[in-house]
């Protein structure tokens, strides 16, 4: 069976932001904000990769930087996190099922730009020393 192009459209009502994603330089900006705010560090759950970080936290504690993407929980498929202002052209429940069948562990987030799927299944409390090591590794690349 051939692949189906995933198209996106604006939402009429934005999702409440429950996570924030930074890619490239923004990933390090978010990581620094995380390490500098003890109240955020205490409650946030983080998943990080190569030049990518996703922070889950209560809305009012989510850090901001120019260019980050805010993610919300899709009401019809609660294990799917999507950009707060966008929705896929077809049913989010089908999108979630397709991602899981393709081997991605839920909960997960799907982005249109860049086109990627990020599993949040291993998100956990950020350990300050691990965070510092990640930041240092990024700085020396």
């Amino acid at each position: 069976m051939g692949a189906i192009e995933l198209a996106w459209k604006p939402r009429d009502q934005p999702l409440p932001p429950l996570a924030v994603l930074g890619i490239g330089k923004l990933a390090y900006t978010l990581a620094r904000a995380l390490s500098q705010r003890p109240e955020l560090l205490e409650v946030a759950e983080v998943v990080a990769g190569h030049e990518l970080i996703c922070v889950r936290a209560p809305t009012e504690l989510l850090p901001w930087a120019d260019g980050v993407v805010y993610l919300g929980r899709e009401p019809t498929a609660p294990e799917l996190f999507l950009p707060t202002t966008l929705t896929p052209h077809f049913a989010p429940t089908l999108l979630l099922q397709a991602c899981i069948r393709a081997g991605h562990a839920a909960p997960l987030c799907v982005l249109p730009q860049p086109r990627c799927i990020i599993s949040l299944a291993r998100a956990r409390k950020a350990d300050p020393s691990t965070l510092d090591a990640w930041l240092h590794a990024g700085a020396t690349r």
């Binding site: 604006p10 009429d12 934005p14 409440p16 009012e60 901001w64 120019d66 805010y70 202002t85």
Partner: protein, 378 residues
């Protein structure tokens, strides 16, 4: 129309002034004004110490109306609200009540623990709230009440009180201030606010007349559709509530200077739904119908009811502009970040209203400039 516009502007200023030093109560103040213009009453449900009575007092002082306030209890006597029997007239065989300074003469009333009154009190209140008439023996008083604000910690489950509760068309649920606003609440002791002389009861009357004349032809189909959606999900408005809700929609239009209520004015329906959980469910069910909600006068109440993008944009613009006008400090920078976060999370870049995009640029520019270290450091 000109007179209405002036009255609406003064009432906006009343709300703005009343809300200084009251944290997270702007929507409540606006709903009191909305109910007054609509000729309806407000029930405020919330735990003790959540500024319910303070909100009512402030609105009343700023409007300059005759104000009556009372805390009801199980042993409250009717005379404490409605006035004592006139003993001199009683000697002549005439039963009359002396109402001077009492509830039957009030233009704005606040009744705390409103459901605790005796059956005699509640029955008399029913007549005052519904017909604005007080029967005192042989005499019938016309009660000039514009709005009665009832407060309670929780709505009683007693069925016999349901008819009384139904007289309060607008229901507002308040919670203690959230964690993110605790610093602002603690700073309230230093805040000043004007207590008199901004608007008058006459402003309420002018807008009430404008609301009576407002056309509901455009909004009725939308209201009926919304009620059908709610009924499908077991949220039922009584026929009386549904019909009277139209007064709130007309009042919303009048406060915005319009003589026709339209889709922008559907949002007060949420506050006519009994029950906090039902109101929240209704917000979710009616998201699409409420998406075009808008109000220049009642921004916070409209946004609270509808979560609509247009009202959200007005609020963000106001907040962001105020913050940018202040001298820089780390706490303000965090608040500016919160505004930027809400802008980015609420509006896709291509859908940002022009004024919101400008505000965002100003915030980005401000936050990109490093904060100067304080002079007391080192």
């Amino acid at each position: 129309m000109q007179e209405s516009a002036i009255a609406a502007a003064r009432l906006r200023e009343v709300v703005r002034s009343a809300s200084r030093g009251l944290i997270d109560r702007e929507a409540l103040l606006e709903l009191i004004v909305l109910a007054a213009v609509a000729g309806e009453h407000v029930l405020v449900v919330g735990p003790p110490g959540t500024a319910k009575s303070e909100a009512a007092r402030r609105i009343s002082k700023l409007l300059g109306g005759r104000y009556f306030e009372y805390l009801l209890g199980r042993f409250t006597e009717p005379a404490e609200l409605f006035g004592p029997i006139d003993l001199q007239k009683l000697r002549s065989g005439v039963i009359e009540t002396r109402v001077t300074g009492m509830l039957p003469e009030a233009e704005i009333a606040f009744l705390d623990e409103v459901f605790r009154g005796s059956t005699a009190i509640l029955n008399t209140l029913l007549g005052i709230l519904a017909e604005r008439r007080f029967h005192a023996g042989s005499k019938v008083h016309d009660v000039p009440l514009r709005v009665c604000i009832g407060a309670t910690n929780e709505i009683p489950e007693d069925e016999s009180l349901a008819a009384f509760a139904d007289r309060f068309l607008v229901q507002v649920y308040v919670e203690p201030v959230s964690d993110t606003q605790l610093e602002e609440l603690l700073a309230v002791i230093d805040a000043e606010h004007q207590t008199t002389g901004i608007g008058t009861i006459a402003d309420v009357d002018v807008l009430r007349e404008a609301a009576r004349r407002a056309s509901l032809v455009q909004i009725r189909p939308a209201l009926a559709d919304a009620v059908r959606v709610l009924r499908q999900h077991a949220i039922v408005l009584s026929d009386r509530r549904m019909v009277r809700t139209q007064r709130l929609l007309a009042a919303a239009a009048a406060l915005d200077g319009r003589d026709t209520a339209d889709a922008r004015d559907l949002w007060p329906l949420i506050h006519a739904i009994p029950g906090a959980a039902q109101q929240q469910q209704a917000r979710d069910l009616l998201r699409e119908q409420l998406a075009s909600s808008q109000s220049q006068s009642l921004t916070n109440a409209a946004e609270h009811a509808s979560s609509g993008p247009l009202v959200r944009a007005v609020r963000l613009l106001e907040t962001g502009t105020q913050l940018l006008a202040q001298a820089r400090d780390p706490r303000l920078d965090l608040q500016l970040e919160a505004v930027a976060r809400e802008i980015d999370a609420s509006f896709a870049p291509e859908r940002q209203p022009a004024n919101i995009a400008e505000l965002r640029q100003a915030i980005v520019a401000r936050l990109a400039t490093p904060l100067e270290p304080s002079a007391s450091g080192g």
